[in-house]
């Protein structure tokens, strides 16, 4: 037989209908040849390639290229596959042709080397509410959707970035970091990206946690943003439009490991000596967001154990995941009341909870009866597998166990460490349950979405406008009834802005008919759009009372200058 014809990208064999499978003899005359296949992606999704040899000494390196100006440029590189290894997964962009090079990496003189190549679209079974969404931190690998009962891969989401931290709030909005470009990305419940939030951190990844009752997403930059030696973390909120809330807090404690906002405007946190070092016996501390000061600790430290993750439950009780990695690796979860009393202890056993993973504990929306905990049980002498368990809060019964599958996701071109990226043992990525509408099978990949707006970083001015109030002297006539015909405010009119809030500035008028004790409904009065200098700001037929107090309030962002007021009244006789 002649030597293979597909020795270059130009002569690559096109991969046809999927699932595709072929076998090719690649050894001739004492040489094992590298051969090429080509695949043009019909959609943007994840595909699996499985190339292997027919005996132990025939290893196959699988490398995937795209052509840029006719020159192959590496896209993904997978390590050697023998016949007993596993598929390699990579994401593709619709319309792009990918060139797959199957390269001999074993006995160069194997006389009867047979290459088997299998190629298929990755599972796309749709997404149901409650499925686990894992935006793993493997560079370039999409978020994975897992069944919450079997752990099977149900699908992928390409638009969710590689993350180290993330959380979902009660309306399904979820926020994750993008570890590649170091910003934050906010998504709607259906997985549509809502906003990109520039947020540059230096070294230590941020912590993202939701306060369940307030619905606020908190982002904690674990490293101080101030130059200098003090690593005081900065706490911010991210609002529903992707902007930062107007307040930042500085946690007066270095070495922050984990944190979680509570319902009562406190942030629970624990610290370590460094960012990835156990801090045995560290207490769970509290910081009051209202007073911006530390307050009493929630729980004293547990000897030989370190807190690794915090979660505030719907009933305001607090879960703390403790881990030990001394002579015996061990982990358990403890549930505390707001007063710090121990309510439950849930043993996990010989499981590892090291590394930075503020999301080791998470919960399903709408399920107040259970929580999820992520750990790394020992499997075959290592602690690589990620295990997620759903635990009933009341009695600790394990309702579900989901192990993250482990599979090859390739090495990005340009990676220098040469190591294989294995999804499944990524200990730091967030996990949360899908709260958006179900996604039908076959449509899981890249959702069609508009270009997300980029929200300006840390706007240093508040968007809340100054409210001004003038409560005027009493109006009375020797305790006789006074009929209030017309109230007119004299002010600088026509000062409205061209657009936005303030373009139609309003004055809120309230009356108290009992001398300032209680107040009626607000009456809106126009103060004049831009240039409306003759606009009259008045209210008519205001009823009657014996002791009236007028109050005007404004909050539109214009220069409010009050000159006075006129009042047309008619005295009663009683």
């Amino acid at each position: 037989m002649p030597i293979p014809a597909n020795l270059t990208p130009e002569t690559a064999i096109a991969i046809g209908a999927l699932p595709y499978s072929t076998t090719q003899q690649v050894s001739f005359g004492g040489t094992v040849y590298s051969v090429w296949y080509a695949f043009t992606a019909p959609d943007s999704y994840v595909y699996a390639v499985f190339a292997h040899g027919n005996f132990d000494d025939y290893f196959v390196d699988t490398k995937i290229y795209t052509l840029v100006g006719g020159v192959p440029v590496g896209y993904r590189s997978f390590g050697s596959n023998t016949f007993s290894d596993r598929p390699c997964y990579f994401s593709v962009t619709s319309g792009v042709t990918y060139y797959i090079k199957c390269e001999e990496d074993g006995d160069p003189a194997a006389p009867d080397a047979l290459l088997t190549l299998q190629f298929q679209r990755a599972p796309d079974l749709g997404i149901a509410t409650g499925d686990l969404l894992v935006p793993d931190e493997i560079l370039g690998f999409p978020a994975v959707v897992l069944s919450p009962t079997t752990g099977a891969v149900k699908g992928y989401r390409l638009n969710i970035p590689d993350s180290v931290s993330g959380d979902v709030r009660s309306d399904g909005l979820f926020l994750v970091d993008n570890r590649t470009v170091k910003n934050l990305e906010l998504f709607q419940a259906d997985g549509t990206r809502l906003a990109v939030v520039p947020f540059n951190w230096t070294g230590a990844y941020p912590i993202i946690r939701t306060s369940w009752t307030s619905g606020r997403l908190y982002v904690i930059n674990r490293i101080s943003e101030a130059p200098g030696p003090t690593d005081y973390p900065i706490i911010r909120t991210v609002l529903g439009d992707g902007s930062f809330g107007p307040v930042t807090w500085t946690l007066p404690q270095v070495g922050l490991v984990g944190a979680a906002p509570s319902h009562d405007d406190t942030v629970l946190y624990h610290t370590g000596q460094g960012y990835d070092v156990f801090a045995d016996g560290a207490p769970v501390q509290r910081y009051d967001l209202v007073t911006a000061a530390p307050t009493t600790d929630l729980a004293a430290g547990v000897p030989n154990y370190a807190p690794r993750s915090l979660l505030v439950l719907e009933d305001d009780t607090v879960l703390v995941l403790y881990g030990k990695r001394t002579s015996v690796i061990d982990a358990f979860v403890r549930r505390y009341s707001t007063a710090g009393a121990t309510l439950n202890t849930y043993a996990l056993g010989e499981e590892n909870v090291t590394g930075f993973a503020s999301n080791y504990l998470f919960r399903a929306l709408g399920d107040p009866a259970s929580f999820w905990v992520r750990s790394h049980p020992r499997v075959g002498g290592t602690f690589n597998t990620s295990r997620h368990r759903q635990i009933r809060i009341s009695d600790g019964v394990v309702l579900a166990t989901v192990d993250t599958p482990e599979f090859l996701s390739g090495v990005m071109q340009g990676n220098t460490d040469g190591s294989e990226d294995l999804f499944g043992n990524s200990p730091s990525c967030p996990v949360f349950t899908w709260h958006g509408p179900p996604v039908p099978p076959g449509t899981s990949g890249e959702p069609s979405e508009p270009e997300p707006p980029i929200v300006a970083p840390e706007t240093e001015t508040d968007t809340r406008y100054l409210r001004r109030l003038r409560r005027a002297p009493h109006v009375n006539n020797e305790n006789r009834r006074v009929f209030l015909r017309t109230f007119e405010l004299d002010l600088e009119r026509g000062q409205g802005l061209a657009t936005g809030q303030g373009s139609d500035p309003m004055v809120m008028l309230r009356l108290s008919r009992d001398g300032g004790q209680t107040w009626g409904e607000e009456i809106r009065m126009r103060a004049g759009a831009l240039g409306a200098y003759t606009q009259r700001c008045l209210a008519r037929r205001l009823g009657h009372a014996r002791d009236t107090v007028f109050e005007v309030t404004v909050s539109d962002p214009i220069a409010w200058s009050l000159v006075g007021a006129w009042l047309d009244v008619e005295g009663g006789t009683s």
């Binding site: 500085t250 508040d462 002297p473 303030g502 001398g515 000159v563 047309d568």
Partner: protein, 374 residues
């Protein structure tokens, strides 16, 4: 249509609302001259435009001189720059009180910082921060000041103050100590006023001056003895060439005064005093002040109060400054707790965060508030 008499006015609400419920929040009375349509009108108070967010808060002191500006934020000491940036300099400690910064200027090129009971010297030429380790330095120190070449340090909760070596805040001699024996009780505040040293105690105030004695230059001024103390350590401020403070003595407290010579002139109204009487404490009140558009404002931030209270020296009228919290449907005190004037800006330090704002009439935002929108 008849005019509404008294519609333009000050905050004058009293505890009996049916007597007077008048309030003016975030407006102040302005007087029109010439032949105006109205002789008085309400002008809007300035908004808070962010200048810089420091690395730590709250902002416990601001100080500026010669186009340079410094702040104590939380436990840290920073230098601020006109462009909205800052440099972290070092740690000075944190407690519940304000910090103080004073300078001996071009002669000593030193800043004297007091914070959390300790003293520090910042060298203006070398830009280095040095803790004062002189064994005779009075600790815990509650505040510092500079008069006639000497830094003065008031020892907290005592009636003693001490002076540094001439133009050198790193050297303190145990013999350079004065006991304020004219008063009973402790001295809460030490304030340099017109090169004199006002020592405001819990119930009385005495004034000292530099008499040139080479052994100890400061001595009480005969007759400068005031039967009125101060209600909180930092409840004083200086503006319009005068000292303003809220008083306290054995008869009572919670009255605002202005120093007229050595006589305290009551400036608070009964309305203000009733409002202050209703707050749980004024022992943590902090006064700050500034001058803008011909108005000198002396303001009191009282943590337990609903709003901050401001006295307008020009009109002798009071108004309130506050943030509106829509979640709680309530007012909260204005953000400012300290002030400095630099780069043609009124910089204020945030009482609750690391933010430094500038007061800006063209800004209509109120700065930051605690309650957020989800």
């Amino acid at each position: 249509m008849p005019s509404y008499p008294g519609f333009i006015g000050a905050t004058d609400r009293v505890s009996a609302r049916t007597v007077n419920a008048e309030r003016t929040v975030n407006w102040y009375s302005e007087i029109a001259t010439g032949t105006p349509k109205a002789k008085t009108w309400l002008a809007p108070t300035p908004g808070c435009a962010a200048h810089v967010i420091l690395g730590a808060g709250p902002v416990r002191a601001l100080y500026s001189e010669e186009d340079r500006c410094w702040a104590v934020g939380g436990s840290s000491f920073f230098e601020l720059f006109a462009g909205g940036t800052f440099t972290y300099i070092g740690e000075v400690g944190l407690d519940d009180y304000s910090a103080t910064i004073s300078s001996n200027g071009s002669d000593g090129h030193q800043l004297f910082i007091t914070s959390a009971g300790n003293g520090f010297i910042f060298d203006l030429l070398a830009n280095t921060l040095t803790p004062i380790t002189a064994p005779d330095f009075p600790t815990p120190v509650s505040m510092g000041a500079f008069v006639d070449g000497y830094f003065l340090a008031l020892q907290a909760n005592t009636d003693r103050f001490q002076i540094s070596a001439l133009e050198n805040g790193l050297l303190w001699d145990a013999l350079d100590v004065a006991l304020v024996s004219q008063t009973t009780g402790i001295i809460r505040a030490l304030v340099p006023v017109h090169r004199e040293v006002w020592l405001l105690g819990t119930a009385m105030t005495t004034v000292w001056a530099d008499i040139g004695d080479p052994d100890f230059p400061f001595a009480p001024i005969p007759g400068a003895y005031i039967e009125q103390g101060i209600g909180s350590r930092f409840g004083w401020t200086q503006v319009d060439n005068s000292l303003f403070w809220h008083g306290n003595n054995e008869d009572g407290g919670r009255i605002a005064y202005r120093a007229q010579g050595y006589t305290p002139q009551r400036i608070s109204t009964h309305a203000v005093e009733q409002a202050w009487a209703e707050v749980s404490t004024m022992e943590d009140a902090i006064a700050w002040s500034y001058q803008d558009r011909g108005h000198a404002f002396a303001c009191w931030y009282i943590p337990a109060a609903e709003t901050s209270w401001c006295y307008d020296v020009a009109t002798q009228a009071w108004h309130e400054r506050a943030l509106w919290n829509p979640a709680l449907y309530a007012w909260e005190p204005h953000l400012a707790r300290c002030h400095t004037w630099v780069w043609d800006k009124h910089l204020i330090g945030d009482r609750q965060s690391p933010a430094v704002y500038h007061l800006d009439a063209a800004t209509y935002t109120d700065g930051r508030i605690v309650e957020l929108e989800a």
